[in-house]
Symmetry: C2
Subunit: 131 residues, 2 copies
DNA sequence: GTCCATGCAAACGATTTGCATGCGT
DNA sequence: ACGCATGCAAATCGTTTGCATGGAC
């Protein structure tokens, strides 16, 4: 948990137990929704409020510590910001896999504009499920 | 509008004036949110209800006539399903450009699984805005 | 001690639902 | 004529806000 603590010290946000637990929960899960964060924390930290989770997610996003991802048919999920990467979602087990993102290059794109940022979601069946 | 009518006939959905107008509005706009569909239609079809728009979007999505796209910091938008393509969003003028999607191939992906479907969002500045 | 964070409850906005009526087939 | 579609209003759900109290720095 020490590294999450120092991660917070790079921002103006205070390292409260609630905030640290939220970060740890996201880090452990990889990708997780607000409700699931709340449900995970509630049993071990009963006083926590859903509003606190929402407020924290916002401030952590504003400080660029979290990224928000939008998968088909689900509420937004959050992850600790790392190197840019794509997401592969298995439609059978719903697991989300991160993968390294090559440049999505396409000659047509030069005629459209200049890219700063990309979000790539691939859906399919993972090796585990394919058997 | 005749082609939208026959598009509906490929499904079990009835070709009501409301439904046809919704489809035409989406087709004209390219990518549009539910509220904006409603606001576009309301003046020329005052009796239409927001609930009707919602219900239709759902049934059209279920029939695979519409695709839902999620752009950063905005409500979901809808488009008529066409060939698979990516979206380039200009962060200056907010215009959405469709572009042909090459295979996003990455050696690492073979170790993860098999891809059926992909969603690619690229953000940047378009030629018009870059000047 | 200061200022930000928390937790609660109330407010809000977006979406869904139930139901009576209307309309496409 | 049948069954789905519409439009309204009410219900519901997710998210935000205001405010008094508590805790990190």
């Amino acid at each position: 948990m020490k590294d999450l603590h120092s991660l917070l010290q790079t921002t103006s946000l205070k390292a409260t137990p609630q905030r640290l637990t939220i970060l740890k929960t996201i880090d452990d899960a990889g990708h997780i929704s607000i409700e699931d964060i709340y449900n995970e924390i509630k049993p071990i930290f009963p006083s926590i409020s859903l509003a606190t989770v929402y407020k924290n997610i916002h401030s952590l996003k504003d400080e660029n510590i979290l990224a928000e991802i939008h998968l088909q048919n689900s509420k937004p999920k959050y992850e600790i910001k790392k190197q840019p990467h794509g997401h592969f979602i298995c439609k059978t087990c719903n697991q989300v896999y991160d993968f390294e993102l090559q440049n999505v290059c396409n000659p047509n794109l030069n005629e459209i504009g200049v890219i700063n940022e990309s979000e790539v979601y691939l859906y399919g069946i993972c090796k585990n499920c394919k058997g």
